[in-house]
């Protein structure tokens, strides 16, 4: 019987990465002095599960590495050791190192052995340093042998005959023991029968081991924790004379043994190393309440459906009202179900935010700055794909704020600001969008410098008149950097253009506000979900287009006398006190058969994007509906002014207008 272990690897890695996050958060909390025992315990538990899992799956290097971390954490937990700031730094680095090892293992990459070694030694150094002396006084001395490291241990390890049938592997245990200290020993092969009587699934060996080094009994017990029922284990300290046996000595239970005639093929354990590519599919954790909601809703749907089919069996016009009622219910349930299913894809943005405390802490230490990170709205939910793609842009922006935004402490004091700078991360809903704001109270962006830089780079004319927003937009040009010197944190001008590109590809936008000397706000606006939107369908000629409802302000039937021309070409429409530029879809998309030519023949849909209002001129309004967004790019290409396509009720395709890009096209 062999189980394909690969299927569990994915789960193991996912859980381990989560465990690493837990450890990281915990360590950061310890650092800021908010630690309590529970915090240390949760770090310890995370390390322990990673060790256990990696040992089981045969990732020996990970298991060894985690083991030493665990040992250190164990001492901290027991109060024998205080965790210093440096200690936490080393542990944090070790978490990174572990993450690197795990990524390498799961994706089949190279493990940076030097890195592992450095961290391993650093951990070992802490363990070797005798820090316990200071804390000995306040911890009550427990005279239990299991807590006191002895100079060494003598271990007699006699696995039962059926040891391997439970999936245990003595080699793993020996390997783990050798990770604790210097392991010497002898194997007792006297019970091994003649070859023709040997059953390869039975266990005939036992070991007499000597483990040298400062190892606690508890650590050894840990190693044997899984196998104590299937083996006899005697552990005695090397220096003590009395033979104190821990596990009850049992006589081997198997007496009758049927010799097997045929030799069964040995279970190939080591041969299971496969060079399979890691499974690319990612999974998502869904709260049980969301699933319950779904099940409820499906239940309702089924009830409605059976009601309708009952109605259909014996239908006459007198029951029309009931039918309509049923259809309305069906409609409502379907919509609710759809919303719930979409909810499954929604994950809180804290998944992305959680990495920032660490990043800001490390960066500010590196740059000798004092920075406090404040986060709000971590529970704001976003589509998983959006969350994944927004991570990198946010990292860039936060880095920028740390590096360029916040000044050095002495500069801040000189400017009359508190020594510690503040960076705020804010996530909240606004309309159909999620807004993420990165605010710093640093020195702000100097518009003049950017303007000059823009002229230097030939992006703008020397005498050009630009609005603030246009000047800030220069920042997002490739290769644009105003940092006087390039640091390894930022300043190479790579990044900001990528930030903008990523955000645009998600259908979002980024705005910059800054006051010199007071700080900067980067505000990212993202659609809630990428899969579905509420749309208004409009017709231009033979074609139907969908305008996202979120960008529509209102629709008006234009009056001729409100039309004004700018220089004979640009059309504007006076709506109340505002002059709206008119965008004719017919002209932008070269639609030859558009019906409406004169303004009063068609309709004007007033849209808003990037803070500007425009009138989109179409032939007719059709109706509102929810549409599922389909990609045009997957088989074709990206079309300017179109964000995607959708399939209408009759099976035909309609294109979804991308209002911000339409506005840019008409510029």
């Amino acid at each position: 019987m062999s189980i394909d272990m690969e299927q569990f690897h994915q789960v193991f890695f996912e859980e381990s990465f989560e465990g690493l996050d837990v450890m990281e958060t915990g360590l950061l909390n310890l650092d800021s002095g908010e630690a309590d025992n529970e915090e240390i315990n949760s770090i310890f538990r995370a390390a322990h599960s990673i060790k256990g899992g990696s040992g089981t799956f045969g990732f020996q290097n990970i298991s060894d590495f985690t083991h030493i971390m665990e040992t250190l954490l164990d001492e901290v937990r027991d109060g024998v050791r205080d965790l210093t700031h440096d200690g936490i730094n080393i542990l944090l680095k070790s978490v990174d190192c572990l993450r690197m090892m795990m990524t390498a293992t799961s994706e089949g990459g190279e493990v940076d052995e030097d890195e592992v070694k450095t961290n391993f030694e650093a951990l070992q150094n802490i363990l070797d340093s005798d820090a316990s002396a200071e804390t000995v006084n306040d911890t009550p001395v427990v005279s239990d042998a299991s807590d006191q490291p002895a100079a060494g241990w003598k271990i007699k390890f006699t696995p039962h005959k059926n040891f391997m049938q439970f999936g245990n592997d003595p080699v793993r245990i020996l390997r783990e023991l050798s990770g604790l200290g210097e392991l010497k020993g002898q194997v007792d092969t006297s019970k091994v029968p003649d070859f023709d009587e040997l059953n390869p699934e039975d266990m005939y060996l036992s070991w007499d081991l000597e483990l040298a080094g400062e190892v606690t009994k508890a650590a050894i017990d840990d190693v044997f924790a899984w196998v104590e029922d299937e083996s006899d284990i005697t552990i005695t300290p090397l220096n003590s004379a009395d033979k104190k046996s821990e596990a009850p000595q049992q006589t081997p239970s198997s007496t009758a043994k049927k010799p097997t005639a045929s030799v069964v093929a040995p279970v190939a354990k080591a041969a299971e190393k496969k060079d399979k590519a890691p499974a690319a599919s990612s999974s998502i954790r869904v709260g049980i309440d969301k699933i319950d909601d779904l099940i409820n809703m499906v239940g309702e749907l089924v009830i409605t459906q059976s009601m309708l089919s009952l109605l259909g069996e014996d239908f006459n016009m007198s029951r029309l009202e009931k039918l309509q009622e049923g259809l309305i219910q069906l409609d409502r349930h379907t919509r609710e179900l759809q919303e719930s299913v979409m909810q499954i894809r929604m994950v809180p943005i804290s998944f992305t935010f959680s990495r920032f405390p660490r990043m800001v802490r490390d960066l500010s230490a590196k740059l000798d700055k004092k920075i406090e990170l404040v986060m709000h709205g971590e529970n704001t939910e976003l589509d998983k794909t959006v969350i994944e793609k927004i991570g990198d842009p946010l990292v860039h922006l936060v880095r920028n704020s740390v590096d360029h935004g916040i000044e050095m402490p002495e500069d801040r004091l000189a400017a009359g600001k508190p020594e510690t700078g503040t960076i705020q991360l804010n996530a909240f809903h606004r309309g159909g969008n999620i807004v993420i704001e990165i605010t710093d109270d640093g020195k702000g962006i100097d518009k003049d410098i950017i303007f000059q830089k823009g002229v230097e780079k030939g992006l703008i004319e020397a005498g050009a008149k630009l609005s603030d927003q246009q000047i800030y937009d220069l920042l997002f040009n490739p290769g644009f950097s105003t940092a006087a010197e390039i640091t390894d944190v930022s300043g190479r001008g790579v990044g900001m253009d990528v930030v903008k590109k990523n955000i645009m590809s998600l259908g979002g936008a980024i705005e910059t506000h800054s006051v010199k000397g007071q700080g900067t706000i980067f505000s990212i606006r993202l659609p809630l979900t990428l899969a579905i939107l509420d749309g208004q369908s409009v017709s231009v000629g033979e074609d139907n287009y969908i305008i996202p409802l979120v960008s529509i302000v209102e629709s008006v039937r234009p009056k001729k006398e409100m039309l004004n021309m700018v220089a004979g070409k640009g059309e504007t429409y006076k709506l109340r006190d505002e002059y709206l530029p008119i965008i004719r879809v017919r002209d932008l998309f070269n639609i030859p058969d558009a019906k409406a030519d004169l303004l009063e023949e068609g309709l004007l849909v007033v849209v808003e994007a990037d803070g500007k209002r425009f009138g989109v001129f179409v032939d007719d309004l059709l109706g509102q509906q929810q549409v599922v967004i389909k990609s045009l790019e997957s088989n074709y290409k990206r079309i300017k002014g179109v964000s995607g396509a959708t399939i209408l009720g009759d099976g035909s395709v309609a294109l979804i207008l991308d209002i911000p890009s339409l506005i840019r096209m008409s510029d």
Partner: protein, 170 residues
């Protein structure tokens, strides 16, 4: 409109080890015969109205809904600069799997042709290389010439012909 295949049945039965060649779906365009590797053909549908896509090359008629996927429709007459003709009841759309040479992705693209002719087997040895016509005619997307019942068959290299990067050049 059946076209004779190049070999008769008995020959094939006797000569099992022979180079049987690939099968090609042949279709006609302005009385010329073209063939595409049949393994690339996903489906053949009748012509129906498509949704026009703005700012696309003239040979892209629009997009259609293929069971939920949005697939571009390319008129091969326009693509090959052949005289245009009204679409009739015989006009068909061939849905093809195309491998994008630029990003290695597989795409689904459909082409409009006059009518489907036949399925033809062409041995590798029977396929001639495409002659060069100088700058007057671009033959890059014709992978070879074969004979189909006395009529010349142009075998299309659809990966080259339907390059998306080309469609992107506007």
């Amino acid at each position: 409109m059946t076209v004779e295949t190049h070999s008769n049945g008995t020959d094939e039965l006797l000569d099992v080890d022979a180079d049987l060649g690939d099968e090609y779906l042949t279709f006609s365009l302005a009385h010329e015969e073209y063939g595409v590797d049949i393994l690339r053909v996903q489906e053949i549908r009748g012509w129906e109205a498509v949704t026009r896509v703005p700012n696309s090359p003239d040979y892209v008629k629009g997009v259609l809904n293929l069971r939920g996927a949005i697939v571009p429709v390319i008129d091969l007459r326009v693509r090959f600069n052949l005289p245009l003709e009204e679409y009739t009841s015989l006009t068909v759309v061939i849905v093809l799997a195309v491998k994008d040479k630029d990003d290695g992705r597989e795409r689904t693209i459909s082409v409009v042709v006059d009518e489907i002719s036949d399925v033809v087997k062409a041995k590798l040895s029977d396929i001639q290389t495409t002659p060069k016509f100088g700058s007057a005619l671009d033959t890059e997307y014709i992978s070879g010439l074969a004979d189909a019942g006395g009529k010349m068959l142009m075998l299309l290299d659809i990966d080259t012909m339907l390059r998306v990067s080309e469609m992107k050049q506007m």
